[in-house]
């Protein structure tokens, strides 16, 4: 498991972009051309002025004048292309990651989800997946563009004065890679501390807002706000500490760019004196160096973004790598035919490999037409039996057979088609009553829905609603009263007619 997580989560997310690499390359080239055009504009202008100071004829400058104007126009167009293409690619990758993550979650739910707390899931799924978009737009693209544009600029300078080009290359490298990475290393420790504080804060806020009724009724509102305030103080203090460190990067960046220009100037002036550089080229060299740091300007933010995304990528990878709670057959048997006979022989199951047994030594037989009632106090394993039969969990011992074949030899959805379930606390989706009822049978007509509602004694209640079946249920069914919510919950399982 740890080995799988160490397999660099960031490259794994980047791999999602492979089908879109052409688009990514176009965006990166456009980005590189944009910055290069800016650098070239100032360098060429420097040449224009220095050459003009030598008072040649106007025709000697005609080409330079046109170049300067073209660079002035081209930059805007290139920038537009880069931003649009980059965002489009990022959004497409985002969609892929979201769907892949969902499919994985769907495969491991609900037994594999026990490790995740719901508030964490909220932060995890909304924030981390959205951060994937940033990974490309603000992380990968600026780096690619900077490397291309920076290499071009240094090469151009090398034709003028090699030592100055060396100084510029070193300066760009330090400002674009060393300083940002250094900043990240400084910030990392407080960021790790910050993540725990953020998690607590999110949990406290969610707790206070979701549990508002209980808090207010029991006069504990101030205590809950106090808990949020305390968690917030810890998180905010962490952010303030991180601020000093990440701002240090901004200061260092300015220092490195300033010193590089200074060094190029010093080397250039010396070279002019030695006669290895003419004074027109000096102006070009210094102005190019001055503009060159625009190339690495976005990199500190990009590196921070990459580091932030790395934590999220690790969490996404953890979900993608979560072990299957059940065995899925490579070549499943055809769906079990009805009537269905289910036998459990010496079945034992637990939720974690070393955890306590949820059930053990269980023998049960379900034959067509017979009703078996499973009675026991809470925590005795009734839900586990349901989870085993619904293929949410695999037995660790013994055998479960459906029509004489191992239950694990069938496609899990086929098993669920013949073994209906009634979860203890079914989820009501934030949609209309109609959509919630249709869960069990997607094509059901209104008449069928109303028949089923009648069977669950919900018909008078639905009829009394102003919008009838179109009434929204609210998040978690909050728009419904407790009784009717439970009614429409317990109603849904009436649909399939499992034997």
């Amino acid at each position: 498991m740890t080995a799988a997580m160490r397999r660099a989560p960031l490259p794994r997310l980047l791999a999602f972009a492979c089908p879109l690499r052409a688009g990514l390359l176009v965006a990166a080239l456009a980005g590189a051309a944009t910055t290069a055009a800016g650098v070239a504009l100032l360098g060429t202008s420097g040449y224009l002025i220095a050459r003009a100071a030598e008072h040649p004829s106007v025709t000697a400058l005609a080409v330079v004048v046109v170049t300067v104007r073209a660079l002035g126009i081209g930059r805007g167009v290139l920038r537009y292309a880069e931003r649009l293409k980059g965002h489009d690619v990022a959004f497409r990758v985002l969609g892929d990651v979201r769907v892949r993550l969902y499919e994985r979650l769907a495969a491991i739910a609900p037994a594999g989800l026990r490790a995740f707390r719901s508030g964490d899931l909220l932060a995890r799924l909304v924030t981390d997946v959205d951060a994937v978009q940033d990974l490309f737009v603000r992380g990968v693209l600026p780096y690619t563009a900077a490397v291309l544009a920076g290499a071009g600029t240094v090469t151009a300078c090398a034709f003028l004065l090699a030592p100055a080009a060396g100084a510029l290359a070193a300066g760009l490298l330090v400002a674009g890679a060393v300083v940002p990475v250094l900043t990240c290393v400084i910030v990392r420790r407080s960021a790790v501390r910050g993540a725990a504080a953020r998690g607590t804060l999110t949990l406290r806020i969610a707790d206070a807002l979701v549990g508002a009724r209980d808090l207010v009724a029991f006069g504990a509102r101030d205590a809950a706000v106090g808990a949020v305030r305390a968690a917030d103080a810890v998180a905010a203090a962490g952010e303030r500490r991180a601020a000093v460190a990440s701002a240090l990067g901004a200061g260092l960046g300015t220092a490195v760019s300033g010193l590089t220009v200074w060094a190029v100037l010093l080397l250039g002036v010396g070279a002019v004196r030695d006669g290895t550089l003419d004074s027109v080229s000096l102006a070009v060299l210094v102005l190019t160096a001055l503009a060159a740091f625009e190339v690495v300007a976005p990199l500190p933010a990009a590196t921070a973004r990459l580091a932030e995304t790395a934590a999220g990528a690790r969490r996404i990878a953890a979900v993608l790598d979560a072990p299957d709670p059940i065995r899925i057959p490579a070549r499943p048997l055809p769906a079990p035919s009805r009537p269905v006979t289910v036998r459990m022989r010496g079945v034992g199951a637990r939720y974690e490999p070393d955890g306590p047994w949820a059930v053990r030594g269980l023998d049960l037989e379900f034959v067509p037409g017979r009703r078996v009632a499973l009675v026991g106090p809470s925590g005795s394993g009734k839900s586990t039996v349901a989870a085993l039969l619904l293929r949410f969990l695999d037995a660790d011992e013994g055998a479960i057979t459906v029509n004489g074949h191992d239950i694990a030899a069938y496609e899990p959805d086929d098993v669920r088609r013949v073994i209906g379930g009634c979860p203890q606390d079914p989820h009501l989706f934030d949609s209309t009553i109609r959509e919630n009822l249709r869960l069990a049978r997607s094509g059901a007509t209104d008449a069928e829905l109303l028949d089923a509602a009648d069977a669950a004694r919900l018909l008078p209640w639905i009829a009394a609603l102003p919008e009838g079946l179109d009434t929204p249920v609210g998040a978690h069914g909050t728009a419904l009263s407790g009784g009717s919510g439970a009614g429409s919950r317990s109603h849904a399982p009436c649909w399939p007619t499992p034997p």
Binding site: G38, L42, R69, D130, F218, A247, T254, R417, A440, S481
Partner: protein
């Protein structure tokens, strides 16, 4: 959506202090940028004229000092900005939670508010550390550059002065066009997050009905739709980037060409031309940066605006306490009517009811008849639209001090079992409350007894166990009035029996209103009321059983 929301400055003192600090630093930075340009031009012109490194020494040394000062200023500015952002976010976050809780339960969507209070406000970081300092520079730097350039070369100053104002004009034009769309994008993103979470939380239900896989396609469709909508917005929003780059670079090109041609004629000196060329981009740079950060930082402003909207919702008026009548003698409703938005039929319809002190009233009725609304009125979660109550002149917080409530779905908070029991009584005897609630046994079996963390929303406990913790909470509260909502619904027979015994123990010596659809509870009642379609009729217990 203004770039600078005046409410934000009124709300957060840290923001005001920051604005002053960042303005000062903006001035310092601008002065250093000018000094750097003057020194660079001086050295380059000196070298052009054939002066040696030694002769240029003082200017080179001064340049190094300017570089050091600029670095210090950049470091200080960013520190200031990030710290201010942390303070402002912290203040808004706590105020939001506090205000939402004071507004009363159920007035706002809790999931949306949670996202807003955490992720939403985080967007303010970019606003403070990138946008605002650049906004200050965008005002200070161009003016300073114009003054310096104007002092040396008027024609270049005119070119800059003519093109500069076009940038904000275009920015505002594009901004006006994208404003509504950006706000809609934010709402869409929030709904997308809500939908994703809803689907993930409902995964077990979806799997039972074999619909889990179909949802993957729905998620892809929703995400694709979001991408298309966002790209439509961005196609226009990025026009601002196009226009800004175009104006800035084209203006620099124009300045370079015109001053180069005049240098050719000997109209200006080489040093002046260099100074103008180095300074010209500096006039546009802050404006361009403002444009770059505008898009990202407006998300923060929108989130802050939504927080400020919630904070602007007035709190319900709290009445002055009058005569000190015991709470148990105030349990009166007269012609109380409650309406829910979007429903024709009132949730409670002219209900008149007096609960006598020490009486056990059981209210029975079908789902949706108004049972929970009745308790909600007694809890002061719902203010009646019409009618009078015996407790209207008591401040709600004080009134609730006399009430213990056992809700249908008690919310268990992240924390230990003991902390959950002590919710309404910080000094309560927890072991006694657990024992009375019939919870002592299973709590003792937990790894750390009553000090065991119960996990978010009580994830480690069964419904019956959670219900018993809620009962222990009510025992610890030890209030004269007891309100119970379906205490044994959804429980298995064994759990229900334990809970029933505990509830009967809890009812002793208290004024009780118990609402249920389970007629078995009527055996414990002094009086029985029936509720149907929001109308309440009171009967004696004998009448029910005859």
């Amino acid at each position: 959506m203004k770039p600078v929301d005046p409410r934000l400055w009124r709300e957060a003192g840290a923001a005001r202090a920051f604005l002053v600090g960042t303005s000062v630093l903006g001035g310092v930075t601008t002065a250093l940028v000018l000094a750097q340009a003057v020194l660079l031009a001086d050295v380059l012109a000196g070298a052009f004229a054939g002066r040696t490194v030694g002769a240029l020494g003082p200017a080179l040394a001064a340049l190094a000092v300017v570089v050091a000062a600029r670095s210090a200023s950049a470091w200080a500015g960013e520190t200031l900005a990030l710290r201010a952002a942390a303070s402002v976010k912290s203040r808004l976050r706590v105020r939001l939670v506090d205000h939402a809780l004071r507004l009363g339960p159920g007035t706002a969507a809790e999931g949306e508010l949670t996202v807003l209070a955490t992720r939403g406000l985080d967007a303010l970081d970019a606003y403070f550390s990138r946008y605002l300092p650049q906004l200050v520079l965008a005002v200070v730097a161009p003016c300073a550059v114009l003054v310096v350039v104007g002092g040396t070369d008027v024609l270049s100053a005119v070119v800059i002065a003519v093109t500069l104002p076009l940038i904000p004009v275009f920015m505002i034009l594009v901004g006006l066009h994208t404003r509504a769309r950006t706000e809609r994008q934010w709402a869409l993103l929030e709904r997308l997050g809500g939908h994703f979470l809803d689907v993930v939380q409902g995964l077990p239900t979806l799997k039972v009905f074999g619909r889990a896989r179909a949802q993957a396609a729905v998620i892809r469709d929703v995400t694709d739709a979001h991408r298309r909508a966002t790209m439509r917005t961005l196609r226009v929003a990025f026009l601002s980037a196009l226009v800004l780059e175009l104006l800035a670079t084209l203006a620099v090109a124009l300045v370079a060409v015109q001053i180069g041609l005049r240098l050719l004629d000997g109209g200006v000196s080489y040093e002046t031309a260099l100074l103008v060329l180095i300074l010209a981009p500096e006039a546009y740079l802050p404006l361009r940066r403002v444009g770059e950060h505008f898009h990202a930082s407006m998300e923060g402003v929108t989130a802050a605006g939504r927080v400020l909207d919630v904070l602007a919702t007035p709190l319900p008026a709290v009445p002055e306490t009058r005569a000190r009548v015991p709470a148990a003698e105030r349990m009166r409703l007269e012609d109380v009517t409650v309406r829910r938005p979007g429903r024709d039929r009132p949730a409670l319809d002219a209900v008149t009811l007096t609960v006598r002190p020490g009486e056990r009233l059981v209210v029975v009725g079908p789902s949706g008849a108004g049972k929970s609304t009745l308790l909600s009125v007694f809890l002061r979660f719902t203010e009646p639209a019409e009618g009078r109550t015996g407790f209207a002149d008591v401040p709600p917080d004080e009134w609730r001090r006399s009430i213990a409530w056992v809700p249908q779905n008690p919310h268990l908070f992240a924390g230990t079992v003991a902390e959950n029991v002590r919710l309404g009584a910080p000094d309560a005897d927890v072991p006694r409350a657990l024992r009375l609630a019939g919870a002592a046994e299973f709590v003792a079996a937990l790894p750390q007894g009553a000090d065991t963390p119960i996990g978010e929303r009580g994830a480690r406990l069964s419904s019956g166990q959670r219900q018993r913790i809620a009962l222990a909470r009510a025992f610890a509260r030890d209030a004269p009035i007891l309100l119970l909502d379906e205490p044994t619904a959804h429980l298995d027979a064994a759990s229900a029996a334990v809970v029933r015994t505990a509830v009967e123990r809890l009812m002793e010596g208290r004024t009780v209103v118990l609402v249920t659809h389970d007629h078995a509870w009527t055996r414990a009642a002094d009086r029985i009321a029936k509720i149907a379609d929001g109308r309440l009729t009171v009967r004696a217990p004998q009448a029910m059983w005859s």
